[in-house]
Assembly symmetry: C2
Homo-oligomer: 360 residues x 2
């Protein structure tokens, strides 16, 4: 690896990455829905280009800063900021600049937020309606998003404020969990988007965009498409991670990103490696078996995590990696891991994490 003189660092398995991109593209094509991948996961220009090459309709992002990075990529023609932005005039100026080079769509989830967006765009000198607006719906995660019941009213207020409302979107964040969690979330997503779409129609607004989906519900794409969705926005699928393995949405063979890490301590059936929360992220949902997994040692568990230490316990009878050996750690949540590094190592090249840290 050119220039790598110490662990830990994040490595991409290019063959697995390609297989993951192709699998989701095929599934969506078969089901007749668009894929608008969430670029917050990879934050890399190279992967964005490949997603477009695989037929993605454009990209989804979480922040204005991410939109700025990807709008500068020639192949990317459409960007959706899937977030209920509270838009100040300064931010509106940035949105207008982005909308000059790509087709831009943003989220709102309240009448107040819609009016504030319209006012700020006006103040920042928008001479028309440079962007499209979609209304965020709460399909069960209870984070942002309006109740599907009142989506029509919010959309109406946005149109009255002069905005171009084109549909509805939701994120089934509650699809992350064991058992039948994913299937239930997919059902709720369909129900919520269908009710919200009906609300828009009742207010004279055609909901031509009905956007949902996530990596955990990618396996239900056919059902989502048949139900009501026009597009899915999975993020994690290019890489996958330990969370996806543990909820059953992929296997270890589908994991395309790991932290190359050195065993710095060994004591009986316990080792400590140099990958901690500053390269893996500290994400650890209650249902997870630990703070990540080891790609070649599914029997091991990461029982504690510090900034530069992962404490890993093996079953009493297992073969334990030697002091100084290098192991591949699968992060629990790959979006967090990627956002901690400046570059991903891919065979002999490095891919800059171009949108790393673009939180605003």
């Amino acid at each position: 690896m050119t220039g790598v003189t110490g662990t830990p660092f994040l490595v991409v398995d290019d063959e697995r990455l390609e297989a993951n991109l192709a699998r989701v593209a095929d599934r969506a094509r078969d089901a007749g829905v668009l894929v608008r991948p969430h670029a917050k996961t990879h934050k890399c220009v190279e992967i964005a280009r490949r997603q477009i090459a695989h037929g993605a309709a454009g990209l989804t992002v979480a922040t204005v800063g991410e939109a700025e990075v990807f709008a500068a990529v020639d192949e990317v023609r459409e960007i959706f900021i899937a977030y209920p932005l509270w838009v100040t005039p300064a931010m509106a100026g940035r949105l207008i600049s982005i909308a000059r080079i790509v087709s831009l769509r943003v989220g709102i989830d309240s009448a107040e937020g819609a009016r504030h967006l319209a006012d700020s765009l006006h103040e920042a000198g928008d001479g028309g309606a440079p962007l499209e607006v979609v209304v965020e719906i709460d399909s069960g995660q209870h984070r942002t998003g309006t109740s599907p019941r009142v989506a029509g009213e919010v959309a109406r207020a946005a149109v009255d404020a002069g905005l171009d409302v084109v549909g509805v979107f939701t994120f089934p964040g509650h699809s992350y969990g064991p058992g039948d969690t994913r299937a239930r979330a997919a059902d709720q997503e369909i129900t919520a988007l269908a009710e919200a779409a009906q609300g828009l129609r009742a207010n004279g607004i055609e909901p031509r965009v009905r956007s949902g989906g996530s990596t955990p519900t990618v396996g239900f794409t056919g059902q989502l498409a048949a139900g009501v969705l026009t597009e899915i926005r999975p993020g994690v699928y290019p890489f996958n991670d330990a969370q996806q393995v543990e909820i059953g949405s992929c296997t270890f063979d589908d994991v395309a990103l790991t932290s190359s890490s050195t065993v710095v301590h060994r004591n009986g059936s316990r080792i400590v490696v140099d990958a901690g929360s500053k390269i893996l992220g500290a994400d650890r949902p209650a249902w997870a078996s630990g703070f990540g997994r080891l790609l070649e040692h599914p029997e091991a568990r990461i029982t504690a995590l510090s900034e530069h230490h992962a404490v890993i316990d093996f079953p009493a009878d297992a073969a334990v990696p030697a002091l100084g050996s290098v192991v591949r750690v699968v992060p629990n949540h790959v979006c967090s891991a990627v956002n901690l590094v400046d570059e991903l190592v891919v065979d002999d090249v490095r891919w800059p994490v171009a949108a790393r840290g673009r939180n605003s």
Copy 2:
């Protein structure tokens, strides 16, 4: 704020920062121990300089990459990599370069690690002993570090391998917790370092460095110094964070770093702000009340955290911040938060986070 056109971003309260630096410096001076602050918390050249100006003996870091950043700062003359490094010849070359410009000390915690360090230094062309070595002791966290019982043997092996062993160190990571956790950890630290020091002496090695301490045990500095310690290595104290508030090692008035964040959603006694795990970090120990706190709203709890959302619940009768208002979020673990941004906003200037992402 120059050039800040959107939230979230991390803001430093300079007056509180100065008070925090002075308080720990005074306490150590009174107790007669050195302070060797851990720079992994702030990763900023400006704060390193101030710590030295307040009398710090040098800096502690976690990685070779951090050491490289701070060795380039004129005021920094001593650097301690408080980690049981597994040193390859390539890393040894980097250590030798660092040791040419500052006095360098590194950790080991096994005879095998010591011999590997010595061999790699030799292979990388070291013509003498360019660095000092201290043996890491496990004082109860059960992460890295050797048992105090066998510290003397490890030190002996290191000396036999040609290394310059100057003492012992521990990190009381188990000092993070509610109730009397901190006091118990301070006691264990003293006991472990005293036993380890005795072990070195029994092997004919003078343990002139006996290093411990952490921000949670800073309040026990007098006791640590009287017991056995020659220096403390707190990291978090310049900023403090929600964890320190909740374990009782500081108050909200001592918190010098927050995420300036906008309320993007409001529903009854619940709000959602735009600071998520990508600016706060996802750290959430079992004993914590949530994923961080609000500086001006101690009654609120961050009950869920996504990458760009913090879900915050208020008591039913509390005044809830308005949609679009800006609140100050205190991260649970400030070391994680700082490592997510390129700059800290301090009044009208920005401090680069120079060692951000230097994991190796």
